[in-house]
Amino acid sequence: MKIFITILITGILTQNFVLARFLGICPFLGVSKKVGTAAGMSVAVIFVMVLATAATWPINAYLLVPRGLEYLQTVVFILVIAGLVQLLEVVLKRFLPPLYDALGIYLPLITTNCAVLGVVLLNIQNQLDYPQALATSLAGGLGFLVAMILFAGVRERLESAEIPKSLKGLPATLAAASLVSMSFLGFAGIAENIFN
């Protein structure tokens, strides 16, 4: 049980996918203009991250490793994630139209979200077992949610601030992102020291 709590804390705070590992920067900058859309995107990411791990871990363990094809991981995982997202879209559209409407365009966008690919590859690299890998994905997704919502809040305030013309738009956004990221570095060391 302790290991799962550790995984959650590290995934959300110290090893946050966006703010500490710098994965998934594109949606982080792209869809963080409003808190509502940021939350929608993040929920979709959580969904896909967990499902992608659930699908790729067995593929790796039972299909790739026994045949010595580990080097195909990246290619195969991209393929599987893309297929999975498409499948998810069809299924949601049919059975959960409200959720499908809420996630909207973000669902297909996740196909190319490197945080999703990152989490499945890191799970294999760190040699986690199946439950741990799933927990890591969940934590990674939750961390993405936290980062997105925090940053969307920052950006909504940035929007109405008076910024020098040369810094308007992306420069100011990137500077703000680095500050938020730095604040997350403050969590480093917390997880190790609490649980040991």
Binding site: L72, L87, S160
Partner: protein
């Protein structure tokens, strides 16, 4: 030969995924209604919300299900779109008179008095919370351009004198600016038949208006007297022109001593 195994593996995986997807999307396909799609295709697709629905898709759906039976709600699309929708749905629409938005204030720099210097957020809605804005006139354009920001057609600009103005060629009468102006200064007027617009909203007494703005309507009733058709009426020290009675002779604009009618 080494290469065969990975190629075969990835190809097989892709085949399985592809077939699976094809099968699932075939099995679980949501029946898309062509009729609704057609209506949506006719609408301009700017999602401005002038029709009162969340966007073009919302309006198309309401028309399709019969929840909405007025085919003429799309202001940006105008008469053309209304006719098209009428053909598709069988719903009729009243003839749509093309309209444009107009900002009813001319109290720019050196025309209207300011009471304080504002240096807060660049937003009219924010500024309006501080004693109703910088202008001494309670109905003055704040000029921070909230209307320009929401305009989906880029038709509104805040001019150098600090007054927002609408470029009538670009305006499609979507009412986004009407809703956002904290001073309710923006109204829609007919585009073709040019009824003179009273570019002032001040209901202050004549003298009081005079004190805060040189171009505000002082309620002198000159327009009322000169109007041959009884279209101009002054109520609450404010001239109003009835578009239905106006014959666009332009007499009122000529006699207005402050130039508030244009």
């Amino acid at each position: 030969m080494q290469i065969i195994i990975p190629i075969g593996f990835v190809a097989a995986l892709a085949l399985v995924l592809g077939l699976g997807l094809a099968f699932v999307s075939e099995k679980l396909a949501v029946p898309v209604d062509e009729h609704e799609e057609h209506i949506l295709a006719v609408l301009p697709g700017v999602n401005c919300g002038a029709c009162g629905f969340s966007g073009c898709a919302g309006y198309a759906k309401a028309l399709h299900t019969g929840a909405e039976t007025n085919a003429g709600l799309c202001a940006p699309g105008g008469d053309e779109v209304a006719q098209e929708i009428g053909k598709l749905t069988g719903f009729s629409s009243e003839h749509i008179v093309p309209q444009v938005a107009v900002v009813r204030c001319q109290g720019g720099e050196n025309v209207a008095k300011k009471t304080y210097h504002y240096s807060g957020m660049r937003s009219c809605r924010m500024a309006a919370q501080l004693a109703g804005g910088v202008k001494a006139c309670p109905c003055g354009c704040i000029g921070l351009g909230d209307c320009a920001v929401v305009c989906p057609y880029d038709a509104i600009r805040v001019c150098p004198d600090g007054i927002a103005r609408v470029e009538s060629e670009k305006c499609r009468a979507c009412k986004a600016c009407v809703a956002v102006c904290p001073k309710d200064l923006i109204v829609l007027v007919q585009k073709e038949h040019p009824v003179p617009a009273v570019l002032c909203c001040s209901t202050l007494k004549g003298g009081d208006t005079r004190k805060v703005c040189t171009k505000g309507c002082i309620g002198c009733k000159k327009c009322e007297k000169v109007c041959p058709n009884g279209a101009a009426k002054v109520t609450n020290f404010m001239a109003r022109i009835d578009a239905d009675r106006c014959i666009a002779c332009g007499e009122c604009a000529k006699v207005c001593p402050v130039g508030a009618i244009q």
